[in-house]
Every structure is written in C-alpha cells, then in structure tokens.
Symmetry: C3
Subunit: 397 residues, 3 copies
Amino acid sequence: MSSKDVCGACFHCIFDYQTPVMLVISKKRVGTLFRLIQLLIIAYVVIYVCWHQRAYQLQDSVISSVSTKVKGNILTNSPTEGVHVWDVSEYVIPPQGESSFFVLTNMIVTPGQTQSSCPEVPSKFTNCESDSDCRKGSNEVRGNGVQTGKCVQLSGTIKTCEVRSWCPLENDSQIPRPALLSAAEDFTVLIKNNIQYPKFSFRKRNILRHINSTYLSTCTFNRATDPHCPIFRLGDIVSEAGEDFSAIALKGGIIGIFIDWSCDLDFPERFCIPKYSFSRLDSKNPENNVAPGYNFRYAKYYKNNGSIETRTLIKAFGIRFDVMVFGKAGKFHIVPAIVNLGATLAFLSLVTAVCDWFIFNCMRDGDYYAKHKLVHLGQKNDGMPLSSTESTSYGTP
Amino acid sequence: MSSKDVCGACFHCIFDYQTPVMLVISKKRVGTLFRLIQLLIIAYVVIYVCWHQRAYQLQDSVISSVSTKVKGNILTNSPTEGVHVWDVSEYVIPPQGESSFFVLTNMIVTPGQTQSSCPEVPSKFTNCESDSDCRKGSNEVRGNGVQTGKCVQLSGTIKTCEVRSWCPLENDSQIPRPALLSAAEDFTVLIKNNIQYPKFSFRKRNILRHINSTYLSTCTFNRATDPHCPIFRLGDIVSEAGEDFSAIALKGGIIGIFIDWSCDLDFPERFCIPKYSFSRLDSKNPENNVAPGYNFRYAKYYKNNGSIETRTLIKAFGIRFDVMVFGKAGKFHIVPAIVNLGATLAFLSLVTAVCDWFIFNCMRDGDYYAKHKLVHLGQKNDGMPLSSTESTSYGTP
Amino acid sequence: MSSKDVCGACFHCIFDYQTPVMLVISKKRVGTLFRLIQLLIIAYVVIYVCWHQRAYQLQDSVISSVSTKVKGNILTNSPTEGVHVWDVSEYVIPPQGESSFFVLTNMIVTPGQTQSSCPEVPSKFTNCESDSDCRKGSNEVRGNGVQTGKCVQLSGTIKTCEVRSWCPLENDSQIPRPALLSAAEDFTVLIKNNIQYPKFSFRKRNILRHINSTYLSTCTFNRATDPHCPIFRLGDIVSEAGEDFSAIALKGGIIGIFIDWSCDLDFPERFCIPKYSFSRLDSKNPENNVAPGYNFRYAKYYKNNGSIETRTLIKAFGIRFDVMVFGKAGKFHIVPAIVNLGATLAFLSLVTAVCDWFIFNCMRDGDYYAKHKLVHLGQKNDGMPLSSTESTSYGTP
C-alpha cells in the first residue's frame, strides 16, 4: 500500500459517519407500546427527578453560628432560702448564650459545705452497725466520698459509714414539688442564627430582611401569626414539642430547637427561609432509662475569714435547649444534571429491547419481523459470496 | 422439536453474537459534525467532570476537634475600679479553650448587689407618680425584677416603681468609650485543630509536619509570609474579616474563623493543607436588628461574714470567635467513576440522533440516505417474500 | 400534499416503531467473549454497586444530641493543701455535661492572688540587673503582667523586672508527679446520645430497647462482654485509645469518643446500633508541637472583709473528652437506583464495541464480518439505484 492509501484509509476511518440501519415496523400496537414506555420514562425524569427531587442540583451542607439570649425574672419564696429574685445571670448556665443553653427550673441547694467528715446517705451499701462494716479508704463510684472506716449515727436509729467529703452531704431524695422556677415558662429567648453555604457563597440570617427593629422588640414566635419572629417563649417551645412544662421543669430534660434551612437556591434568595420545629430529645421511658431528666451539680465557693473554703452545692434541674441547625441547599449544576439525564437516557435504550421481545414473542407474525431484524451470518466458508457482496457494496464501486 | 433441537436453539440464543448493522456515510460534512460533537462531549468529560469537578471521586465530610489558647495581659485604669491587670483566666470565658471562645473587650460592672428592693431603671413602663401606678407582683419579661407595688424616688424628680431584685440595679445606658480592653487587639490565640476523614482513614492536624517548635514559639499568622502558623493576632483576625477592632470591641460581635480542609486525597498527604479565612457573623445592620453586638451577663458571688450573699454583676461585651471547620475530601472510587462515565457515554449515543437529523433535514440528498438507513417493513401479507429471504439468510442456508 | 397525507406522515412518524437491524454471528469464541464481559459488568453491578456499596440508596447525615454525666470521688493529700475530697462538681469543667467535657487530673494551685506588684518569673527576657533593664508599661504577650519599670529581688541572687498583675505569680515550672488526681482512671461516664436522620424521620438513642434499668445501674462498657452499655470507665477509654492513663493525666490531652451511627435503614430498626471507638486527638509528637497536652487556667474569686478581691488561680491539666457522633444512613430510593443502573447499562453498550474490535482485528475472517456489518454508502451520484432500492423497499411497495 502506498502512503497515500494509508492516509486515505485513516481519513475514512475518522470522517466516515456510521449510523445504525433501522428496521421500521408500521404496526400501531407496537408503536403505541413503544411511545407509551418512552413517555413514562420521560415523565419520570421531568416530574420526579427534576421537579420533585431536583436531582440536577449540586448540594451543599449548611455551616451555622448561633447566639441566644434569654430574658425574664422569677421571684421564689422558699422556707429555707427566703425570698429570692432570679435573673438571667443566675439561671442560665453557662451565661454566654451559645447554641446549647440551660435554663434552671428546679434545684436542691446544700449550703455551707466544707471539707470534713460526715455520715453517708443511707443505702444498703452504706448502712452499718459497727466500724467493722466500713472499710477505710473505700471509694465507691456511686458513693459520696471516701470512707474513714467509722460507723456513725445518722439520725434516730440509722447508722451509716462515715465519709470524708464536702460535708454535710446533699440529700437529693426529695425534690421540690412543684418546681421552684416553674414560672420560667414565661421567659423568652432570642435566637440569632447566621448560616452559609460555602459552595454557593450564600449567607443569610434568621432575622429576615423585612423584619424591623420595632417588630422585633414586641413579637413572640407563633407558628400561625408570627412564623418569622426569632423570639420564642419557653413555654411555647415545650408545648410545641408535645411536653408539659410543669412536668419537665421538675426533673429537667433536653429540648431540641431545630432550624431547617433546606433551600432551592435556583429561586431568589428571599424564598430561602428557616423552618423551626421542636422536639424532646431525652427519653421519658421509665423502662430502660438511667438518670432520667437532666441535671448537674455545680458549686459557688466562698472563703471565710479563717480562710476555710465553704461552698454552696446546687443540684440543678432544668431544660437544656439544643439549637440544631441543619439543611442542604441545591443549585443547578451541569455535572449532576448530565449524570441524571444520561442515566435516564440509558434506560430509554431498554425500551427497544422490551418492544422487540413483545413483537417476537407475543405477536402472530413475530417470526417474520425477527427474520428481517436479525441478519444471520455463519462461517465464512458456508456463506454466499454473491449476495453478501451485493448487499454491502452500495455506492462504493 | 427434539430435545437436541431445543438445546441447539438455546445454545444459539446464548452464544450467538449480535452487533448492529451500520450504514457508513462518506460525507466530510457529516463526519466532521459527528466527530466535533463527540469531541466536545469527551472534552467536557475529561476537562470538566474529571479534572475540574473530580466527579470520579467518593466524598467524605470532615470530623474535627479544636482547642484554643489565648495569650496576653491588659492593664486598665478606670476611675471606679482603679488599676487592674487582666489575664487570660479573667477575660476568656469560658476558660477551657473550646472551639468557640469569648474575649472580653468592654464591660459594665455593678458591684455590691444583694437581694433587696430598689427603684426600677426609668422607662415609659416603669415611671410612676404614686403607688397606684405600680402593680405588686408584676413581672415584665423586659423588666429587671418583680414589682413590690410601691412608687419610689429614683433621683431628682424621677419616680419609678420599686422592684425586688439584685439591688442596686445595673445602669447600662452608658457603655465605656473607648472600650476598656480595646488593647485586646494584641492578644494572640493558638488554634490546634485535628481533623479526620473516617471513610479514608485520613488524619491530619493544622500544625504541619515541617513546622518545628522553635518556629511555633515566635510566629504569627500572616497570609503572605506565615500562612501555616497556627497562632493568630486577634487584631489581624478582625481586620481580615473587614472590621475595625476598636468599633467591634465597644459593643461586641461574633467573628468566624473558618478552616477549610477541602482536599484531593489522590494527591500525596502533604498537599492537604488547611486554608484560613475570617468573617463577621453577626449583623451590623441597624435597620432590622435587635440586641446588636454580643454581650452577656455573669456574676461573681461573695459571702460576707453575716453570710449575706453579695455579687458583682458584669455585663460583658466582647468578641466571640467561632472556629468552624469544614471541607470535603475526595478520593478515586470506582462507583462514582462508573456512574459519571456511563452517564456521559449515554449522551454520546445522542450524537448519532443529532447527526441523523442533520443529514435527513439539512442535506440535499437526505432522502437518499434515509432510504438506506430505514428499512421499511409493513404488514406480512404485503411483503416481498423473495427479497426478504434473500437479505436475511446469508450464510445460514 | 393533501392534508390527509400530512396527517398520515405525522402518524407514521409517531407510531412507526424503529428497531436496529442486527447482524447475528454464530461464532462460539465471539459469543463467549461477549457474554463474559456482559456477565462481568452485571456481576459488578449486583455484587459491588448494589450489595457492597448500596449505591441504590439515598443518604442522610446524622443529627445528634449528647449529654454526659461523670461519677466518682477522689481523696488527695497534698503537703500544701492538706486532705481534700474531690467530687464531680469540682473536677468536671464545665459541669453541665455537654458533649465535650473536661476531667481535671492534675493542677498547679496559686492561692491568695491579689492585684498588686511582684517580680516576674525568671527568663532571659525578664531577668535584670537594674531598673534601666526594665521598661515601664511593657506588656509582652508571653509575659505575666505589665512592667512597672523597677528591677526587684526575686530570690537569692536573681533579680527580675517587677510587674503589676495578680500577685504572687504562678510558678508552673514544676508540675506534680504523679498527677494529683491520677485515680480519675476509675471514674465512670454515662453518655446519652439521641440521633436522628431527618430525611427518613428516623430517631434512636444509644440506650437500646432491650437494655433495662437494672442492667444500666451496674454495667460498664466492654467491647467483648458489654458492647451496648453506655457507661464507660475513663481508664478503659484511654487504654482503648492506645494511651497510658498515668502519662496523659500528667499534662492532659484530648481523647475522642467516636460514635458511629452508619446504618442501612432498609433493614429493621433494631439492626441500627451505635459503634464506639476511641482515639487520642492531640499530638504527642515533641518535634513540631507547642503547648503539648491540654490545660487551661481558671480562678475562684473571694472578697475579704475590706472588700479586697482575692483569687485562687488554678492551672488545670486534664483530659478533654470530645464525644463525636457521625454516620450516614441509607435507604432505597428510586433516583440513585435509576442513576446507578442506568449508568451501568450505558457501559453494557461498550461491550459491543469491544467485541466488534476483537472480531475485525483479531479473527481470521474479520474482513468478511466487517463487510456485512458496515453498509458503505457513497455519494448519491455514484450509487447503484437498483440494489439500493431493492434492499430498502421490502414491504413498502
């Protein structure tokens, strides 16, 4: 072969256009079936994939920053502590206003604790009759201190092992009923939330553009009338979570404040608005539960003149509010669009296989069509050179 | 049919190879169009999908742990408090060094508060002329205590309702200008960040391998000269966020420190380095804002000899720094690779449809090609048995 | 053309069924190759994509809420502080039981600090011989206060610059060995974790349904015997992370408690159980490290009679436990299923191309098959009307 021939062959190889030879069958039944299946697949793509699932979108997860501010005062009048007015810096712990904040609703106060020795709280492990029942240095994980080895009088006829600890020990067998700060129901919390979707350089906050300062100074969130007010009454949050405030105030609990920022960013920015929802996160089930409710202990430390450290221990029951921001934003992007459309196109090619099967197996003259569709070709030596040449050399003499 | 025949038919059904018959059209125009579109699609796949979007990669989201440590001291000299040197344990709240930390920059101190009664701060709701203007037990969410029902002298001619609360009440109408601790600008913060991508068992920290202890003891982050130093000057962070430190120090604010760990893990581990960026997260817009800036109240509690609890209330203004770690890592994985390539292949099959349409509709001899491409087949009874047999029985006598 | 003709053409265009004409080659070698490749692709789809990767599933990321509660007491007997029993409210900081909690294991206590002046801790920057070596108002970021400009006696022959600060200054050159609270190893922590997958409205907590209160009151997590007990011994956590408790207790560190909630929600809910793992998050590498371990300073404030504020500064070393919840849940969904199947189908069409290439290039009678597969068609004017008409007009007279 001359080099010119090689070039020509190459040229043909590259620029000859190949298109499949198609058999056209003019049968209404088959044609209808074919178009019907095609239509179903296209409808699926348009309606479900594109419209409902928005599979043509690139997705990004939300990044969020939350700050919270609780407002309200409570007056309590307990027999032991007297009249006391509680303000935010006392009942919100920690005070910084982060996305997870705790509002004190009930407490057991043990004032005047010092490092000394005292009898343990009675239980089957701590009750004793003589010193031999106590073991010096014993340090039970579930106990309240380190045993001194002595068995001492607690009250009346009960004797318990003495422990070295912050004494007197807290007695948490009785919690105040009703909850001391059950009026916390009327407190309000302002939640400020800034989010961004870094992939789309999209930023927004939950105080929407159309909300002005005057409205903010008076509004309270209400799903029906004020769905965009970022100030929530604690009682409303708890009742929207399906709980009873006075019950949860007693032993505490964890309430989730969910802010859903799922957005379709192909629409204008103003349609991207947060949706609030609330639900209780800890379990009330008494069956398989341990330490139900939500509480923790903290102490305020004092030093007397003689520089002896005294503390007031507080077992704080209350509601922890966890603000949880989630959501995904989608925006049209060529890659997921191509992938989803392409994959569905591939399914369209299955339709031909289905229709062929239908023709060859379910129609009376299936064999006739099969003969025309399938060009059988055997071994070269038993072929018919004449007809084969004839049928493949049109136009290339 | 004998069982041998059935076997043979089955065998043919399974092992006969079917390949579509193609019509080859040697027209430069069509061939060029065909190759051009193919090339465009392949270029899209190679350049955009593979190289730019890395759609052949499996993705994972970052899991991160952050610890922070602020350094620096400030001397303030206020007329009421005298000379005071502030150290980290005083101005960083909470002190633990978590991913969100607050640096105190300004404050209103109200010392000597005790549980007692005092006149409310004047406002249109609290001003009064006689006891009848006040309601005993009234407890406004936006008030400072629980009203006793008395109307008392506040100062000069102003009378307000008396409240039971921590008295004297804080007067936050005037905040110190300039901010008391505006020199906090020169503090530094060390940010330690460990991340992992659990799907790829990949772990790394922001103190890179080539950084040694000597460098760390002296460096300060600078985007141009020290982009990998994990020690940041607060003033630099704020100015990179486009804010003025002395302004933000006055009323507080929230600054986001973003660490972007987006990585292509098909490259060696050393190319996976964090990118830092900073921006202000709270809103400065005075129009639709409430409680601008960032502040909270906390108290230090003291007990005098007579065991009366006294407290110093501090309204703390300052900057909350939120370290936010985000990013996705990608690594080659066969499933997304197949999905993306497959979907694009499916698009290649569209090219033939486009070219066919072009030939049949836009070219002069379109009908001629159409005739060869489409083999029309009608009802069996109006067929031509001879030619059909002839054309489909090559090689299978 | 009459309107009836137009209608008819349209009708044909829509309801004529087109199916590609196929060349059937009865060659065992080719047929086997073809079926083999098809089988491989189908096996890949079924086994890898569907069974192993579950690519037919829609995925969602976990949303989680964690609360923790540490239990245990420690008795320490230091020469300076005397006997002291530590309880949870003292050694867990902050006390609220959030997902990140710190357990104090070692400390340097500096009692009786007041705002006054004292000599700096010696270093090459603070040592001096006369007042001229000190600069009034100098405020080093790494120093402990603001210099007064005087050079004063520290001890023996050492003189350092005087600073105004909380005095006396802390001396942290020596940390207690062994760690003061190294017995913290025996503390236990109860971790309560509630998760949800919002897309699937799926909620679960780590206290599984079959666990009852009796078991919870006694169990301790053990990978072999009690893998579902949510109560962990601190020592076990640290040793599972591959660390030595007494070593980490000395200077502190950060331990990650990972809870993996990866679930296949096509299975019943009871198969979705959390998997716990532990690892150290901070770096022990002494080479490129700064401030190794984990520590922070906090203070307790007291007021003496003369209302002079005194504080006890505590440099707290300890272990920060970060509970990190991650995981993705998958559930069958039609969109990813279609996309993955479709994309693989598209690959099936590549098989024909591979087999054709094999026939035409590797088989002896490749040319013969090529001739039958490819129907060459040249320019109209050099065509052969007779044969072309003959071959394309079957059945359409």
